[in-house]
Symmetry: C2
Subunit: 356 residues, 2 copies
């Protein structure tokens, strides 16, 4: 066998299937794939790089001997199985939120803090999608002039919620269009995935509200994860996040107001970002050139445009940041972490393992 024995948890889901595609597209050295799925998908065929596999369930007999596992199952599955996979010798790259803020678990974005991967004790967390694309765009600014405060409003697609949400947006859209959707239409449609209909609507709620909190879990993640990735505390970097779901299938858009420590002109910012890894500047207002959700879909880069001075603050810039939340926001970064592990000789679990 040449290459690694790679497990993918949640292999049939929206993120999991994107991970398989990205592994193939980036020619990651997979010696053997073990696609894990829930009971009802066991036996389902999965193709990777011309070879055929079948989905298996997580179990004592299936988790041994893996080198790298990328998890795109739910948080509760990662909570239970990540330590067991690590104990079995695998380095786990976890795409759920469960381990991200744990002290001993590095939270890594390939272009931002790759060195943190070296501190892993078997487990590396992959950040939340909306955080991921933002920090890739902000890192060059942080390094050049410092960042004191961020005021963020997001326009998030349904694909991050999974296949059922994609289907719900489709089904609701069709139902409303058949009903002759007019601005004043009062057609009822079924809403199962989100608390309200998403088709032709905007939901100022992404994920859930923890008891008594007036910020959503998604907004809390953006604030906490951004600081952890940048290695800054709340006194050093203030963050306000408002996360909204829009009727878009793929790619999150973000309106970000950035207050820098020392002034940065839009021209300097554009130049910084143009040479930054993983970033593409799309910024030609006169020709209506700016990042678009549907054009970012399927791409690995983070697109940045509408770069301009905020007239209300001499050290603030406004940015429009767009990326495919399933790719750079999830799968691509997870595979990039796997590449990092290989390139830096980190595909081994220190003993004793201390993930928790």
């Amino acid at each position: 066998m040449s290459g690694y024995r790679v497990g993918v948890l949640g292999a049939t889901g929206a993120v999991g299937s994107t991970i398989l595609r990205v592994l193939e597209q980036r020619a990651f050295p997979v010696g053997e794939l073990v696609p894990f799925a829930s009971a009802r998908s066991v036996g389902k065929p999965i193709e990777l790089a011309g070879r055929n596999y079948r989905c298996v369930e997580l179990g004592d007999d299936t988790i041994d001997g893996l080198d790298i596992v990328i998890s795109a199952a739910g948080g509760s599955i990662s909570a239970e199985w990540a330590p067991r996979l690590v104990a079995g010798g695998a380095v786990v790259i976890d795409n759920t939120s469960y381990w991200r803020m744990h002290e001993g678990v590095p939270l890594v974005v390939a272009e931002v803090n790759p060195a943190d991967a070296a501190r892993h004790r078997g487990l590396i967390a992959n950040p939340n999608c909306s955080t991921m694309q933002m920090v890739v765009a902000l890192k060059p600014i942080l390094d050049a002039v410092g960042i004191e405060r961020l005021v963020i409003s997001t326009y998030q697609s349904v694909s991050g919620t999974g296949r059922r949400a994609i289907e719900e947006l489709r089904a609701q859209s069709i139902a409303l269009l058949e009903g002759g959707a007019e601005p004043t239409a009062d057609v009822e449609v079924e809403a199962n995935v989100y608390p309200h209909r998403i088709a032709f609507n905007v939901l100022p709620q992404v994920e859930s509200f923890a008891a008594g909190d007036d910020y959503t879990t998604e907004e809390r993640k953006m604030m906490a994860e951004t600081r952890k990735i940048f290695g800054l505390d709340a006194d050093q970097l203030g963050i306000s996040a408002t996360c909204a779901r829009v009727p878009v299938f793929g790619a999150h858009s973000e309106s970000v107001n950035v207050q820098t420590t020392t002034p940065l002109s839009p021209e300097e910012c554009r130049a910084l970002l143009a040479s930054a890894p993983g970033v593409v500047v799309v910024d030609d207002p006169a020709a209506s050139g700016y990042p678009l959700a549907f054009e970012a879909t399927g791409r690995d880069e983070v697109l940045v445009g509408r770069i301009r001075r905020d007239p209300s603050h001499e050290r603030c810039l406004n940015l429009w940041i767009v990326a495919d939340n399933l790719r750079k926001g999830a799968a691509t970064n997870a595979v990039q972490i796997a590449e990092l592990l290989v390139a830096r000789g980190l595909v081994s679990v220190p003993t004793p393992s201390l993930v928790a």
Copy 2:
């Protein structure tokens, strides 16, 4: 004849037809309606309060003897015809952007600065839709604790662009859904109204970019009109606006970060807004209660929710503000201005008329 002779310019358009509906619903004392439309709609029947009218064209023979004219035609039509209508004795309430920033023209929001209507010299301007709903929600906060700075991101519906945009969103949505729209779909659809497709996409451009400007005309309007309505200059009130178009038929949503002059708690803010005219507080996160675009459609009130402290600044609050851009954002406020004129005995043009 009991009641006023009321002209409506652009009577067959998206805003114009909403003005007719609002005049009827609010039982405005229309003695006779004169619906103005473009040449191709001349003769088209229009019903108002059980009476039938036919559309006429603007002309020397049709503009005399009107008491009140509400204009929802284009800016160039208002530029040419508003002074002529005023010269003919009508008080003109103009919904276009053309006259809004003119020195001698009051820019009036019924709940915010009604007293300014008394200063009219024949012409009163109706603010831009995205500005309108925001200032209604902000006025009670301004009065209570002062406002120093606003950082705004909008989620605007297509209805503000007019009937063709509504049709374009419908047609593109159908084409994409028939093509089996998946997050990675690369289906081409025709885009005529906007520079890019709007269906299942977000456009960080509302209206156009003036030559050399990196802010859109919509963003410039929000910044300039808000200050004029509040009677504050740029040193007193800093504003940063990012305006985006989302695939929603009716109602604009806005994420607004408000920096007050003295601190205001979310509870105090909620209490202020709950008793403010034209505002409805919808703010129950635990029950997923917040303003929604599709629920605001057809309503006259401005809905406000997600009221919470911005953790990055001790004097900042975040608000989510939603309203029907055709109603409160345009038609309803125009009719409210007409009501103001009637209630305060202002339906007359001072001589000499000085509109420009």
